[in-house]
Symmetry: C2
Subunit: 110 residues, 2 copies
């Protein structure tokens, strides 16, 4: 099959999975970290920064953009990318709620 049965899960569960999926590749993690690190926006130097071919980087950027975590702005022949702050914050809320589920109440049964 190779096809995830999204319909049997809640919207929240699917949302968490979608965000996680996009973080599930080190290139996308590296792209995001670089966008956070650099003060000004970053264009095609992501290709130099990360050691992948230009079409590959472009594809990863597309996925990040599709989820709304980054935005791109055309500047001459190059495109300036940066973190979409509002959406990043919203994503963080969802993910943090998932990660911070309460561990304290249960005793260790295993």
């Amino acid at each position: 099959m190779g096809l995830t049965k999204t319909e049997i899960f809640t919207d929240k569960q699917n949302e968490i999975a979608l965000f996680s999926k996009v973080f599930g590749h080190p290139a996308r993690v590296a792209i995001l970290q670089h966008l956070f690190k650099i003060d000004s926006c970053v264009c095609g130097d992501l290709v130099n920064e990360i050691g992948l071919a230009q079409p590959t980087i472009s594809q990863h950027l597309k996925e990040l953009k599709h989820l709304g975590l980054i935005k791109g702005n055309v500047e001459g022949t190059s495109v300036c990318y940066c973190i979409h702050k509002e959406n990043w914050t919203a994503m963080k809320t969802v993910m943090t709620e998932f990660l911070n589920q309460d561990l304290t109440q249960k005793e260790d049964c295993c």
Copy 2:
């Protein structure tokens, strides 16, 4: 190719990607949420709780176990699973650091 070039990324980036990848499927999210919700440990009723076949659940459990986020304990014919608290906390530290990268300093350039 379908093969991630892990060698060109840092250990941290690969670690974040691995954790995220395991959260990148709603069934695994649902399993973890259920393990958090139930006081006592949970065995094969995950198959009933989530609408997937037993081998599929078993496979997802295996991945979660492989990353160390859950542990399983044989109890008679059934197996009792629960969150691996120490490892979950360690994972949370890594993921939170990634999610909480500073947004405040940069002005919106896009």
